[in-house]
């Protein structure tokens, strides 16, 4: 059975430009695509790619633990999206093409709104890309190499953008976790302490649980029926 260093050596190709490109695509998908399955798949891939990039900066074992925490987070979010009553509702609406319809009702109208929403998000993501590019050139991040600095900026900016564009708890959670992943890529080499890494892992895990709780529990259940 190959050891961790052997596995990482085989994956070394992915710890450079392909990983950065992958992160650009995954974070963009989270912003642009409304379907939770695709967004969640993108988030999972994002954790793996960020972990691979981090092997260049921190101990590989710690990077692997971060990927495992990411996997746990994605499992929690998957179960939430799969079984939460609200999410099932939006799933059915999505299947019948009623996503993002608002009050417009009719199917052609729904498709138009959906397309407009998609185009708007794509356009904003492209603009954000330009901002990130110029930011990473003008204010390169200290300690981390320029390509990883760009990835940090990209993830943090698109995470922030997701937070601005949505109100749904699950999507907000994905945006927040994307932002925190970008932050951790910058912060982990600055603060290599294991206890800090542990705290960040706990925070990620608790955020996923909190999001799952907010997305799942109906208001009546949450308040114990007193409202």
């Amino acid at each position: 059975m190959p050891t961790l260093p052997q596995v990482l050596a085989k994956l070394s190709f992915f710890t450079t430009t392909p990983a950065i490109l992958g992160l650009v695509i995954t974070a963009s998908l989270i912003v642009v695509i409304r379907d939770w399955r695709l967004s969640l798949a993108a988030l999972s891939a994002q954790y793996v790619l960020a972990g691979l990039l981090l092997t260049r900066l921190i101990q590989p074992q710690v990077a692997v633990i971060k990927v495992l925490i990411g996997a746990l987070v994605c499992i929690i979010l998957y179960l939430t999206a799969r079984f939460a009553p609200g999410q099932r509702g939006s799933e059915e609406a999505s299947a019948s093409g009623q996503e993002a319809v608002g009050d417009m009702g009719s199917a052609p109208g729904a498709v138009r709104v959906s397309l407009a929403d998609f185009s708007f998000r794509l356009l904003v993501a492209v603009f954000m890309g330009l901002v990130v590019y110029s930011l990473s050139k003008r204010y390169p991040m200290p300690v981390v190499p320029p390509d990883i600095g760009f990835a940090c900026y990209w993830l943090a900016s698109l995470g922030l953008l997701t937070l601005m564009l949505t109100e749904e708890p699950l999507k907000v959670g994905m945006g927040l976790l994307t932002l925190i992943t970008g932050f951790e890529m910058f912060y982990s080499p600055l603060e290599p302490s294991l206890s800090v890494a542990g705290f960040l892992g706990i925070a990620n895990f608790l955020i996923a649980l909190a999001i799952a709780y907010l997305a799942t529990a109906s208001p009546l259940e949450r308040t114990g029926g007193e409202r």
């Binding site: 907000v172 925190i180 603060e191 705290f199 925070a203 608790l206 907010l214 529990a217 308040t223 007193e226």
Partner: protein
């Protein structure tokens, strides 16, 4: 002998699972949670600090530091009072939640939050204090609940505030080895300002306060606001005490004054425009916290005393408002002025608590909020500033009086529901305390002055 910090962190954490198991049996859960918080408060507020005490036969040395995984936890006088203060608030909130349910998770998770905030107070390294605060904030999301977006907004703002606060200590440490690079300190100061502004709800980061106040069960909202605010302010003061470059920078204090002034103005204006007691509570709090920040911005002993007095008195006004609102919301099913016509006749004590609490947050005479506000008005150097603070309080008071006019209005609805007796007695107790503190503010002054002395570097 058990070190005090370890005891204060471990006790609520150890009892939280027991309370969790009992959470649907409100009476034992509330009493166990409340008793735990009372014991902790008694331990912390009982001077002197260096003398070992016995808790149910268990020896506890409060002043004995403890090191966990290389991080030191210790209790100084200000930390001790802060932990005692937040435990006292928690004890009252848990006890009230026995009669007016605030969600089943409130008791166990409230204890977990107490433990985490205690750790945030007692850990010496700022970086770890921020991490404990962050995790406490995430745990609070589970009790904020509510049908709206309050919990999500709180989660986002706490997380966004944490990130710059985590980077700042690294910049400060980096400056220690590169003393010529003053830009590092500038960046650190900016990051600290952003992080603290978000945590203290300084405009434009204030949206979450009204959202949480409207969404969360009222007593939970009051608990979260009071305890987190106290801990955040303590860490801010500790930071100013630890780093002279920060405490000697006049821009830091100008920023505090400006932020506070904006909060007070926005809070007062928006409170005046509210037609909902939940949101009114949020904006009243914003206005009051703004006054505290303005006072802190003057960095004198008198100003710091007034600010800390206001923090303590605010919690009484806040808890009283929340208790009244909890009863009104439970019995009338709404916070909106439109649906509360005639409620005052059915729920006189809850109405009195709700109105008096709000007036206390507005700094009206005879209430707990007045003495600290008056002390703040007196230290303000210009009349304009004093007038702005006064108008901010007036905005809150007018918003509240508008609500009162509806509560006193006529309703055709004949409700058989009576005011809950024990909850009403608790509200009555808080009303007495609120008026008592308004008339005799010197009760708390000796303790507050001792804390102010420990921050002599900040309060010049």
């Amino acid at each position: 002998m058990t070190p005090g910090p370890l005891f204060l962190i471990a006790l609520p954490l150890a009892l939280a699972p027991v309370v969790f198991v009992l959470r649907r049996l409100t009476l034992p859960a509330a009493f166990l949670a409340s008793a735990t918080a009372f014991v902790m408060a008694g331990l912390c507020l009982r001077p002197p600090l260096h003398q070992p005490v016995s808790v149910f036969g268990w020896g506890v040395a409060l002043s004995q530091p403890v090191t966990v995984l290389g991080r030191e936890f210790s209790l100084e006088l200000a930390d001790c009072y802060t932990v005692g203060f937040i435990c006292l608030i928690a004890a009252v909130a848990f006890l009230f939640a026995w009669r007016v349910p605030q969600g089943h998770q409130f008791f166990p998770l409230g204890l977990v939050i107490l433990s985490l905030l205690g750790a945030a107070v007692m850990v010496r390294l700022f970086l770890f204090a921020v991490l404990f605060l962050w995790i406490a904030g995430i745990v609070a999301v589970f009790i904020i609940q509510g049908p709206g977006r309050g919990a999500v907004q709180y989660l986002v703002i706490v997380s966004l505030a944490t990130l710059p606060l985590l980077i700042a200590p690294w910049l400060i440490d980096f400056y220690a080895v590169n003393p010529d690079n003053l830009a590092l300190l500038r960046y650190a100061a900016v990051l600290l300002a952003i992080g603290f502004a978000a945590l203290l709800a300084v405009v434009p980061f204030h949206g979450w306060v009204s959202a949480v106040a409207a969404d969360a069960p009222p007593v939970v909202a009051a608990f979260v606001f009071s305890v987190t605010n106290a801990v955040v302010l303590l860490r801010l003061l500790n930071l100013l005490k630890s780093y002279s470059w920060l405490a000697e920078n006049p821009q830091v204090f100008s920023l505090l004054r400006l932020g506070g002034l904006l909060m007070a103005i926005v809070g007062g204006l928006l409170a005046f425009a509210q037609r909902d007691f939940g949101r009114l509570l949020g904006y009243a709090l914003l206005s009051d916290m703004g006054c505290t920040l303005v006072a802190l911005g003057f960095a004198s002993s008198a100003a710091l005393t007034a600010a800390l007095l206001q923090v303590a008195h605010r919690s009484v006004g806040l808890m009283l408002t929340a208790m009244g609102l909890a009863v009104v919301r439970r019995q009338a099913g709404s916070d909106s002025f439109l649906n509360l016509a005639g409620v005052a006749k059915r729920l006189p004590l809850a109405t009195a608590g709700l109105v008096l609490g709000n007036l206390s947050l507005a700094g009206m005479p005879i209430t707990a909020g007045f003495p600290s506000r008056w002390a703040i008005y007196r230290i303000l150097p210009t009349l304009d500033l004093a007038l702005a603070m006064l108008l901010s309080g007036a905005g809150v008071a007018l918003g509240c009086l508008h609500g009162l006019s509806t509560l006193l209005g006529h309703s055709n609805e004949r409700s058989a529901e009576r005011e809950p007796l024990i909850a009403s007695l608790m509200i009555l107790g808080m009303i007495v305390l609120c008026i008592g503190l308004g008339l005799h503010p010197q009760w708390l002054l000796p303790a507050i002055q001792r804390v102010v002395e420990s921050f002599s570097l900040v309060a010049r």
